[in-house]
Symmetry: C2
């Protein structure tokens, strides 16, 4: 059975990148590593929309989230956490682990935060040092209004905006410098179309001032140490060399496609997925502010979402994902980020139609794919 | 742009086979080659439905066609050639090259031969030594009635049946011994899901008697020499080692799937393709006897087939093929043989719908894919 990986990370990897990573390994403290890092540094700045260095860690994305807190804040600091899903919760958990006091804005799962709530919280408590948010909340398929929130945080000299862009960077625009994002994080296994194992953190000038004052304990995720190293085209500790080789190739391919085209492609694939699901009578979990990285869909009445996922995986070879925690069993999630084209969407929708048909859901077989074709035709 | 190879050879290669072939190369006159060849020999017999050895050549399929003529016939012999397409023509050309007198049954492109014509020709000329035919005429997408013809040839002690099964072996049943096929040929880059470079010839007891008497010149494609060698788990000349390593893996996977399931899968994919094309108002080129390897479809009135093919390739990354010679510009061909599942069919049909839409053909976008989904749902 052929296998199709249509999850929000790991995402699919292009053959060119796979072959690049399969080449003989090189040593990172050797001359051949230098031009590779020079290229990667420049292209990461391009991707993040920042004049500043983007730090690279051998870790999952969560590592860079951890570092974003420990490098910018101090013991007892207050942080405002937007929690609208599993990854919002994670911000609060990281704060707790390091003695940062998290003021949480709870957002109903499937909804995005109202920027006015952030404005209000900041106005009410001038001691808040950081706003922590997801650009795209992967667990619910929601996009939060980062630009609007950046516009608010900008007015507070003593507050920075820390954005988890793990399923957002490379999916839709998050230009750090232009918008005023202070720390922007992503991981390798999402829109960067690599295996898991690399995390990235872009850091603004404003955030670097926070780093200078930060007194939280850190060692592996030490931003200052990494900044010093990356300027010498190195990382402080052993980098995941083959992933960095792959990253160089990925960034070349992304530059060739162009950011605008990449964002448009994601928009189109997301549109097709959402409309296809509606065409077969399903309800979107995040209809008002859907992320272009992943579409969350309510399973039909009487059909546990796990059954759809299991059928797709076991009978069709198609891996999609379900809901987590409170959304478990209720939703399934179709990813459309990274190395993904219109035919992948058609496969995903076909698979769901096959599964729903087998599970006796009453609908017009083919109606979803037909709708997708209409949107995906030139 | 992602690339989708949906042609009748080379066909797609499974990742497992690609990885197998990427392992360090081994030497063919060394002990580790022996168990590999033992396994391959047994599994080729299983695939060909023959108790006899299946010979392996480092060549394209045409090499084994060449050898089938030069090893079984004598100078001045008469052969009956069924010519219903480009590959039928090739049989006649090979005969001509070696001084074999070819009596040709011309079959209209898109049609299959009527077995009674073969019966009549053999009855009229008892000197015919061989009937040369395609099981599947790739250029037109037609299947010829090999079983019926084998039943006829069986009655002639001095005539053998030589079958080009290049796009047929592994697509639908051609059990050599059971049906009485005397020479059966295939190549690696079709249902065997390997890169091009290997050809195969199964040879019946009756055909081996012809080999004993044959006086046509041959060297590289010497069946007797190869038979001697293969019994020692070798080939006479250097084998395409990495392809044989891949072949071993392919045959393992085919045994796991089972011949009956493989044939059923091809039938289903072919059915879906044909019905989808009809659902968008297109006419099949070979409606009466379509091959399960490839579906040939008339391009709509006023649209040159090359435009559809070019659009699919350049705009969508999907490679399908056109017609050859007299069918050039008139038809396009969608392959569905080898490492091919239902989603590949859906991709092919979607691509053609996208192309037809862009070329202003008037039809209901999505109708083809909808029909395919109905057929491909469990």
């Amino acid at each position: 059975m052929k296998r199709y990986l249509l999850t929000p990370g790991p995402t699919m990897i292009s053959p060119e990148v796979q072959l690049e990573m399969a080449k003989p390994i090189i040593h990172h403290r050797a001359p051949e590593f230098i031009p590779l890092m020079e290229e990667v540094r420049e292209n990461l700045k391009w991707l993040f929309g920042s004049k500043n260095e983007v730090l690279i860690f051998a870790s999952s994305g969560t590592g860079a989230m951890d570092g974003a807190v420990t490098n910018t804040l101090c013991k007892g600091d207050k942080a405002l956490v937007v929690d609208g899903g599993k990854f919002g919760e994670r911000w609060a958990n990281i704060c707790k682990a390091y003695g940062v006091s998290a003021k949480v804005i709870k957002v109903e799962w499937g909804k995005s935060v109202n920027p006015s709530e952030v404005a209000k919280a900041l106005e009410e408590d001038r001691d808040i040092k950081a706003v922590l948010i997801q650009a795209s909340e992967t667990s619910t398929g929601v996009v939060h209004p980062v630009k609007e929130i950046a516009d608010i945080v900008k007015n507070y000299e003593n507050t920075i905006l820390i954005v988890d862009g793990i399923t957002a960077v490379g999916v839709y625009p998050l230009p750090m410098d232009e918008w005023g994002i202070d720390v922007l994080i992503t991981g390798s296994q999402k829109a960067l179309m690599l295996p898991p194992g690399l995390a990235f953190a872009g850091v603004s000038d404003k955030a670097w001032k926070f780093v200078e004052k930060s007194d939280l304990p850190k060692f592996y995720f030490d931003f200052k140490k990494e900044l010093k190293n990356i300027k010498d085209n190195q990382t402080a500790y052993t980098p995941a060399v083959s992933l960095i080789i792959g990253l160089a190739q990925v960034l070349r391919e992304m530059k060739k496609e162009g950011l605008e085209n990449i964002y448009k492609r994601h928009q189109r694939l997301a549109d097709a997925t959402r409309e296809a699901m509606k065409a077969i009578g399903l309800k979107l979990f995040a209809p008002d502010s859907p992320s272009n990285a992943v579409t969350s869909v309510y399973s039909p009445e009487g059909i546990e979402a796990g059954k759809i996922i299991k059928y797709c995986r076991d009978k069709l070879g198609v891996t999609i994902t379900g809901g987590q925690d409170q959304a478990k069993g209720k939703i399934f999630r179709i990813a459309h980020l990274g190395y993904y084209d219109r035919f992948d969407i058609i496969i995903a929708i076909s698979a769901i139609e096959f599964a729903l048909k087998a599970l006796n859901y009453s609908f017009e077989l083919g109606a979803g794919v037909k709708k997708a074709l209409e949107i995906l035709a030139e």
